[in-house]
């Protein structure tokens, strides 16, 4: 019954969105929708569904999962250089992408999660956006390897060779699938855009499972070949320099400015590489500054010029670009949306809602304040 219901879906990709010319040919892969439906197919009518009640996403970001804590180790002697930024107003297109993933609930055989992406761009003084999703997925111990392979295949165009079942925990599956979807979108934007500034949420650290060096390098190269510059903003970095948080080093610098950090190793380990030069960006008045990674293979003047164009063409609030802020806002799930997705799954797949007891609450009463298991 449920299978039949799912087979009735006839989804086709939208052939052309209302994108500006630069990215108007970006298409949502039919595979991705099919993959979502395929995972939902293993839900059976009457499966138990324990809705997740968190009102805020608690999944760690892919960055947090894999970012090294110690970068500036002995004997490296990093140096700092202040680069003042002069805004360039020239209507350079600015494109930002962000992806949110969220655990929606649990079934008796796996987890239900949802992924949504937002692409926001600014051109000719106007912001526009495209939101993709939400796409619900049902990830089980049985299908997680297959789903992950297919995600990698679509995102990285690689043939599945490794077995990830031992390293892919269901707990982090939403975050990792979200990261792969984000790579796919980043690639799509890099291919479709010319002479633009592409803003990423996160760093240009490569060598993790979801950000292989080859793939990330290829992404940056694609962007470079089309005269784009990738600027990757990290909201919260754990990197420290001379004992202080990296972003504290802008101190009393007059914005807009960059603080260039030199003298650190490019290779963090056998596998991990820094594909970007690390800066601390204080691009407007306010208390905030951010770690900014800019493609290492770009000449430094190009990197600085890209920052100048960003400052000249985008709104910056607390040093954070508005385009990227909007991308985050449009992709994030609100509590109401989570309830809506849960309701969608219950309605379309006839799930039976149960509430599992909160063990912490049971054991510790009002003192059981930690997250539900």
């Amino acid at each position: 019954m449920v299978n039949l219901l799912i087979e009735q879906y006839q989804y086709t990709t939208t052939p052309k969105y209302n994108f500006p010319h630069v990215i108007q040919h970006l298409q949502l892969p039919q595979h991705f929708i099919q993959l979502s439906l395929r995972t939902l197919r293993n839900i059976r009518k009457g499966n138990l569904f324990h809705p997740y009640v968190a009102t805020q996403p608690v999944n760690p970001t892919a960055q947090m999962l894999e970012e090294p804590k110690r970068l500036f180790t002995e004997p490296s002697k990093p140096t700092l250089r202040l680069i003042p930024i002069k805004p360039i107003k020239d209507d350079t297109p600015i494109i930002a992408v962000d992806v949110s993933s969220m655990k929606i609930g649990e079934t008796d055989i796996g987890i239900l999660c949802a992924i949504r992406a937002a692409i926001v761009w600014k051109q000719r003084h106007r912001y526009r956006y495209v939101r993709l999703g939400p796409f619900p997925f049902h990830i089980t111990e049985e299908n997680k390897n297959e789903v992950y392979h297919l995600f990698r295949q679509y995102s990285f165009f690689e043939q599945p060779t490794l077995d990830y079942s031992s390293t892919l925990s269901l707990l982090y599956a939403p975050t990792r699938l979200g990261a792969l979807f984000e790579r796919w979108l980043q690639m799509g934007i890099a291919v479709q855009t010319r002479n633009g500034i592409i803003l990423w949420d996160g760093s240009l650290t490569a060598g993790t499972q979801d950000a292989p060096v080859t793939v990330m390098s290829q992404l940056l190269e694609t962007a470079r070949n089309r005269s784009n510059t990738v600027l990757a903003f990290t909201k919260t970095t754990r990197l420290r320099l001379f004992g202080y948080r990296l972003t504290d080093h802008v101190g009393k610098c007059v914005p807009p400015c960059l603080v260039e950090i030199n003298g650190y190793p490019i290779a963090l380990s056998n596998t991990m590489r820094l594909l970007g030069n690390i800066y601390v960006a204080k691009l407007s008045e306010g208390n905030c500054s951010f770690r900014l990674d800019i493609d290492r293979k770009l000449p430094q003047e190009k990197a600085v010029e890209a920052t100048q164009r960003l400052v000249g063409n985008d709104i910056l609030l607390q040093s954070y670009p508005e385009t990227l802020r909007l991308a985050h806002i449009y992709s994030t799930f609100t509590a109401n949306e989570v309830i809506g997705i849960q309701r969608f799954l219950v309605q379309t797949h006839k799930l039976k809602i149960i509430t599992r007891p909160n063990v912490r609450r049971l054991l510790f009463g009002p003192f059981g304040k930690g997250p539900e298991s």
Partner: protein
């Protein structure tokens, strides 16, 4: 719909936008295990307080105007469910009773299951059947929300004190005319104190032709076809007129009584002789002046005559309407003082006839009664006269002109739209349901919609769209630009 919460007499129901429920609707919360249902009425509809809604609204508000445009690519149409939750409603309901085995009781000492209960709408027609409100003498007053006719029992108006109230142009007068005609049809005698002459043409259809009520509507125009002689009035009624309508001081009143009795003894009780007698009075000139001024007020009212053929006997009039009919006393072109004289006479005579069992009972319709009834008569009408058989319906757009002690005795309220908090507060104190119900429902009633409260609906408030009447109502306001 799902049962969400109960606090005191209030129940909250969670409802989705596709479930069409409005203020005033009745819902039945069926508990299959207990085999009974709680009857509740929706008194307010709010948005459900869904977490995260503020973030969504803020996010979407950046979408206004030219600031940011975008597209949502949602091939699975998950957003439809999200929108549904955004628009989820919370129905604030009041418990009215319990339905068990097809019988309705006012008991509400139980609670249905939150998880197992089924909630469904109860049509007003079904409710009316359960309440048995149109059993004996049905009055078709209008249509329910489901377009089925709603009838009330005329017997529920018998012996009752009623108030028809609402702000201007909401249909109060129309509704009271409907009640008048319906009571006539059931053979009841009705007296209307018609302040604006609106009831004069109730015997004519809207096309100007005589209708079936024509022979039953009798219009009395003071100083026109409604005149009386002094002997008809009697000293007691005349005394009331002089003291209450014309404010005659006590000393002068005593002198007047002496004069009246003398004239009556001499068989000369008429206006002319009364004037002469006052002129020839040997008394304090202040008293004489006072009596003269009142005398001329009586003469100038045109309501009194010395010609018996011009005079009208009220007993005869009541005889005409004893098996169903209305006496519409047209007070339109009558001054404030003359109005009081006429009403004092009419009510005095009415009580006289009722106490003498010349009349069984009468339904009195008083429009804006504060404009012609003295203060003390209010209590008199609703307490003493009620026992004699005067069943009053006050029609007013100023509910605060009716005193609270009268409200306390009200049996039925026919409530039209009010927006003023003060007016709603006044009415809600009198109604036999909670004030929240009155305030919340009445505030949003469209014109011609009436909230029925009291005996006629067995204390289950019902909203009805008052039916149209094919009569010349004449209640419309005269306009300059039309």
């Amino acid at each position: 719909m799902r049962l969400y919460r109960k606090e005191g007499n209030t129940i909250q129901i969670l409802c989705f936008p596709n479930e069409n429920v409005e203020k005033g609707d009745y819902l039945q919360v069926e508990d299959p295990k207990q085999n009974k249902a709680l009857l509740i009425q929706v008194i307010n509809v709010q948005f459900a307080n869904v977490p995260g809604i503020l973030e969504e609204l803020l996010r979407d508000s950046t979408n206004n105007g030219d600031i940011i445009h975008g597209e949502n690519l949602d091939p699975l149409d998950v957003a439809s469910q999200i929108t549904l939750i955004q628009d989820a409603r919370l129905l604030i309901c009041k418990i009215r009773g319990t339905v068990q085995n097809g019988k309705l009781s006012v008991s509400s000492a139980w609670l249905p299951s939150r998880s197992q209960s089924n909630i469904k709408k109860l049509s007003t027609t079904t409710l009316a059947k359960l309440l048995k409100i149109n059993d004996k003498l049905p009055i078709y007053i209008g249509d329910t929300k489901e377009f089925s006719p709603l009838k009330i029992d005329a017997a529920a108006l018998d012996g009752s004190l009623n108030i028809v109230t609402g702000k201007k142009e909401t249909g109060k007068s129309h509704f009271s005319k409907l009640l008048v005609l319906s009571l006539i049809e059931h053979g009841a005698p009705v007296v209307v104190l018609d302040l604006n002459g609106e009831y004069a043409n109730l015997g004519y259809a809207s096309d100007g032709k005589k209708n079936q009520h024509y022979s039953k509507i009798h219009v009395l125009t003071p100083a026109g076809n409604f005149k009386v002689t002094l002997p008809q009035i009697g000293l007691r009624v005349m005394f009331n007129i002089l003291i209450h309508a014309l404010n005659l001081p006590g000393t002068s009143a005593r002198e007047f009584r002496r004069t009246w009795r003398l004239l009556k003894k001499q068989g000369k009780l008429n206006l002319h002789e009364l004037g002469e007698a006052i002129r020839n009075l040997q008394c304090n000139y202040h008293v004489k002046d006072a009596l003269f001024s009142r005398y001329y007020a009586l003469v100038n009212s045109g309501f009194f005559t010395d010609n018996p053929s011009e005079a009208m006997t009220l007993e005869d009039c009541f005889r005409k309407i004893q098996t169903g009919g209305a006496l519409a006393v047209n007070l339109r072109d009558t001054s404030f003082v003359d109005r009081q004289i006429v009403v004092e006479y009419l009510l005095g005579k009415l009580v006289e006839m009722l106490t003498g069992w010349k009349l069984k009972a009468v339904f009195l319709f008083a429009e804006e009664a504060h404009l012609y009834l003295r203060e003390t008569y209010w209590n008199d009408i609703v307490t003493r006269m009620r026992h004699f058989g005067v069943f009053t319906t006050f029609v007013t757009n100023q509910p605060d002109t009716i005193r609270e002690n009268i409200y306390r005795q009200v049996d039925n309220i026919f409530l039209f739209n009010f927006t003023s908090e003060r007016d709603l507060e006044t009415v809600s104190r009198a109604a036999k349901v909670d004030s929240e119900t009155v305030k919340s429902i009445a505030r949003d009633l469209p014109p011609q919609y009436c909230l029925l409260l009291g005996r006629v609906v067995k204390d289950f408030p019902i909203v009805v769209k008052v039916r149209a009447l094919d009569v010349q109502t004449m209640g419309q306001t005269r306009l300059f630009f039309n």
